[in-house]
Amino acid sequence: MKVLVPIKRVIDYNVKVRVKADNSNVDLANVKMAINPFCEIAVEEAVRLKEAGTATEVIAVSIGDKSCQEQLRTALALGADRAIQIDTDQNLDSINVAKLLQKVVEEEQPQLVILGKQAIDSDNNQTGQMLAALTGMPQGTFASAVSVDGDKVNVTREVDGGLQTIALNLPAIVTTDLRLNEPRYASLPNIMKAKRKPLDVKAAADFGIDLTSRTNLVKVTPPAERQAGIIVESIDELVEKLKNEAKVIS
């Protein structure tokens, strides 16, 4: 069984973003970038399926300019077998990302596609579900457990009130939540080995898809800052302030 893992290059989660002075977007110049944490969990899950003998091949794919090859190499170092970069310098809406991935799915015919549930830059939480709709596959989003069972996959999902388990016919789409697994660190020999693994580059323009943006980013502003508060000296003072100043308890 082939597993396809689409991944995204994003700002490192430890970096605090700054908005550009002209409010056109956030400033990503000279900022540390990394594989989106949820995507890393997706790679780890696919590699574990391969180690368990369930998956035969793990393919990582990323859409972006040449710099996203760095994240594809990370995926290869974690255990993916080969990688595909779909080259574009356009900032794509999720729907267009899903359409490009649909073409990759048609060509590679994976039984399982594992994606991160959301990217920590745009916080959209859309691509996996959109790809599922376009390919007609069922989806198990926000997964905290995945088990392949014959021609089905059982996915336990993190839902508002707890956990929900659903069964999906394969081929299927899974999107990862944080507790699905803890990704390994790539070992130095595996990082060296990853450099020799195949990485194909395909031009997004060659896919025959209209990638015109469906949205217009009007502006990006910093969030409203909270007024600095005060440090209270005791529980008594805290309770008094909450009762009489903030009036949030009685």
Binding site: K16, I120, M130, A132, G161, T165, G229, A246
Partner: protein, 308 residues
Amino acid sequence: MSILVFAEHDNSQLKADTLKTVAAAQAMGGEIHLLVAGHNCQAVADAASKVNGVAKVLVADNAAYEHQLAENVSLLVTELAADYDHIVATALTTGKNFMPRVAALLDVAQISDIIAVESSDTFVRPIYAGNAIATVQSLDSKKVITVRPTGFDAVATDGSAEVVALDKATDAGTSSHVNDELSVSERPDLGAAGVVISGGRGMQNGDNFKLLDGIADKLGAAIGASRAAVDAGFVPNDMQVGQTGKIVAPDLYIAVGISGAIQHLAGMKDSKVIVAINKDAEAPIFQVADYGLVADLFDALPELESKL
């Protein structure tokens, strides 16, 4: 202009956040229809008919919708979408799950998690865990939108909308429900509580979360946790407040032993009043707290409980 709003519910109760989503729809402008898709969900339909601002309630009561599987619900909503300009759902588990499928089937972009409506095609949403706020215009003729409930005030429930039963049973046949393991709690829902008290890594273990119980009882509060506490296995993930967990904005948020990583702040910084209790005076949580107390939580919590 007409707007289809998807009602979030569990077949017996209409989730209160739906009232906030209806408020967002009102800001977009147009006749609002509320869709109740479920099974044996008459009580929800009754509640939905009382939601102010709703002209009509559409009820799709069928076994195919019992667990609101994304595959089945998205087919239903896509079919209905022909008659609407805006398709709107709450950015909770169900809406987040199926709405992007609807957008893809309609071949449009989705605008996720909006916190304000500028006009019928322009919306405001947080990005980068709330560290930037984007204003986005949709260029599609149909708008598919999910609403973050903390951004809107609930509409009242003294209306009387017409209820129309739909004879629909879109079953994709590709997925099935196995089981639910829902947390049973006497406490209010994290998303709906007026007071939330959350513990972080500083709680040290799951047992110590009991120290929050007495305070939560006295304040009628929900209990939350930081991702650090969830990752450490102290408490289950459905208690997580943050970028990837629940987004809350109660009147009072009490953060105990939480350092205040940006991912946690993203989930609670719109709270009206924030209290932080932490023994590290340098913890970033104090930069967003209205009232900070630098103290060992194991001394502070019992004292706070006794003085409430």
